[in-house]
């Protein structure tokens, strides 16, 4: 898609600031409408006041030089928008709260008071309203029902596809046989990386690979073309394949998030009709089902400061809830960092080498927001342990990794019952009967070994 084709490596600080400001203002409107609060009741939290006020802002560390991992309940602050508080930042006092989960980058609506001028004491965190779920008409659902012979089966597979010891894709090749003969899904969603730019062999100077057909392999892109593409082409052409790039993929020149889709020509897959390339992140539909995918490890990167009941919850549920409330796939700001020391030899240039992490191109983060509705299914791969959870009636899945550094890994198989009208939740909107998809009631997720 065009809007993902922005040029990278050219982030402007003022455009970054514009997006950060807009995020606060757009949530202020959402809160205002939902709670029916007159705009005059929203106030600047950095100004002393005698009475309680309502304010909206971004959670930040109260010391800009502190990294988010070192934060605690007494080191958080709130940043206001230009309109609400001329961008002022004010430390937060959380001592009146019994339940909270807060993280840097989060947009929050607060009720409280700044009595001394030094900090804003929160009395209540106003919950951000949830987006509505997608709906379909009777006709649409009937068509989908009749078109399906059996339940809908979707596989979600997340790279890497080789161990960290080699770039041997035999494992994937064998798995494709299993997909064609045994699993026979309708759709396979495959996440990169296919060839991880940080793979140990890439830097070792000991990479020697031959293609089965004797083609000369001179670049990492050649490995994809001559070793990976032929395997993908072996997948039965009745099975739809959706490829989502990773920030670790060597094949992607767009090494920033949001990330443009793979180039079909470059992969040498132009002739394959059943393979579709989508950007990272993206939202698409399979029959009635709205699926949101993002290949940026928010489950690893989001570190919240929490207390009370949210703390008792499963961490994956808590983060999923934040994603759903914040209405975007990667709500943390700033992004994460990953680096390793270069094996230094003889000289002074001892430095760090950076590895792919979250690569946020902030001015374009609008592309990572949900639109007007919440997807039925969110698939967000993570290095952390696989899981499938239902959070706010949304099915949230991390398939795990296909190959671990030294062994095989996991993938997720989603089986969704055909939509039976009389079992779905009916809602009436403007005199028309519409149905919620209730995917969380109809779906079953199996985490299977790769």
């Amino acid at each position: 898609p065009k809007k993902y084709q922005f040029r990278t490596m050219r982030t402007k600080i003022l455009e970054t600031a514009d997006i950060l400001d807009e995020q606060i203002d757009s949530f202020t409107k959402i809160i205002q409408q939902h709670y029916q609060i007159p705009s005059s009741d929203f106030n600047n939290p950095s100004i002393i006041s005698q009475s309680e006020i309502i304010t909206v802002g971004r959670i930040i560390p109260d010391n800009p030089q502190v990294e988010s991992i070192q934060l605690n309940s007494s080191s958080l602050a709130l940043e206001t928008s230009r309109t609400l508080g001329i961008g002022k930042r004010i430390p937060l006092d959380l001592s009146n709260l019994t339940d909270y989960s807060l993280f840097p980058g989060q947009i929050v609506a607060l009720r409280g008071k700044n009595a001394s001028g030094d900090f804003f004491k929160i009395n209540e965190i106003l919950e951000i309203p949830y987006l509505g779920s997608p709906v379909s008409t009777n006709d649409e659902l009937t068509t989908y029902y009749e078109n399906l012979e059996n339940d809908l089966k979707i596989l979600c597979i997340n790279g890497p596809y080789t161990s960290s010891k080699d770039l041997d894709f035999t494992y994937l090749e064998n798995f494709v046989t299993k997909v064609n003969n045994e699993i026979q899904p309708h759709v396979v969603i495959m996440f990169g990386p296919f060839i991880d730019i940080s793979h140990p062999l890439v830097s070792s100077g000991n990479l020697d690979i031959e293609s089965p057909t004797g083609k000369k392999i001179q670049t990492l892109d050649d490995i994809f073309k001559f070793l990976v593409s032929p395997i993908l082409k072996k997948i039965n052409n009745k099975i739809q394949i959706i490829l989502i790039p990773s920030l670790k993929d060597s094949i992607s020149k767009h090494a920033a998030y949001p990330q443009d889709s793979y180039d079909k020509k470059q992969l040498q897959l132009s002739s394959t009709k059943n393979i579709k390339n989508f950007p990272n992140p993206s939202i698409f539909q399979i029959n009635e089902i709205l699926i949101g995918v993002s290949n940026n490890d928010i489950f690893k990167d989001l570190k919240d400061i929490n207390k009370g009941s949210p703390a008792g919850e499963n961490r994956f549920d808590r983060i999923s809830n934040h994603i759903i409330q914040q209405r975007r796939f990667y709500p943390s700001f700033p992004g994460s960092k990953s680096q390793r020391k270069i094996t230094s030899s003889n000289d002074d240039e001892d430095e760090f080498e950076f590895l792919p992490s979250s690569e946020l191109d902030v001015p374009y983060l609008g592309l990572s927001e949900f639109n007007d509705v919440l997807p039925d299914i969110l698939i967000i791969p993570s290095e952390l342990r696989f899981f499938a959870r239902v959070v706010k009636n949304t099915l949230v899945i991390n398939p795990g990794v296909f190959m671990r550094p030294n062994s095989s890994g996991t993938l997720a198989q989603i089986t969704i019952e055909k939509p039976k009208i009389d079992e779905l939740t009916k809602i009436n909107e403007d005199g028309e009967d519409l149905y919620l998809h209730d995917i969380w009631k109809r779906a079953r997720v199996d985490i299977i070994k790769s």
């Binding site: 600031a17 830097s203 100077g205």
Partner: protein, 208 residues
Amino acid sequence: GINGILQPLESTISDAERFKLSKHLYLNCKCGSHFKFGGIVSSNDYQMTFNGIQCKKCMNQLNTLNVTSQLEQRIRSFISKYYQGIVICDDSTCGMITKQISVYGKRCLSNGCKGVMRYQYSDKELYNQLLYFDSLFDVEKNKNQSLRPLYESEDVTKPQELIKGQIDALSEQNRDNFNVCKSIVQKYLSDCGRRYVDLGSMFDFMQK
């Protein structure tokens, strides 16, 4: 009209000057040797042969895939560094370095500071880094011996320089290999926003 300081066009600056601050391209050999690659020049660690780069420590020949993959990893490492998005205050008495960005962008987050925030690793520095890597595999630049030197002139370990005839022959023999390496740098340059700014700004003054 034209005002301000007249500056030389970037292209008229020598590579030695232009890439002074760029990081070297380090290559690993399977023997564990880790060395700076500076094109077809003399080095204590490697030598160019008609079949590419040879490690002087173990006499192993690095194949094209080894060179391109390490080059690509190095490029991506710089892109990742860029996307760390670290900003720094230009007031030297302030010293604010952070990943936080105010909703005003350029405003410094330290109390009362009037300094202006900018990205620490600039797009210009990254663009130059890519151009430096590109120059190393540029056959014409190698032939003209116009590359940034690998050793400082006062460096006592500096080896004997190659002779022109030798460089010409090695350049021609390595043309194909070098073009594959160059295509790796071009892959990323083609997505680099800075490159298009360069072209745009050339026409800026004509429109005023």
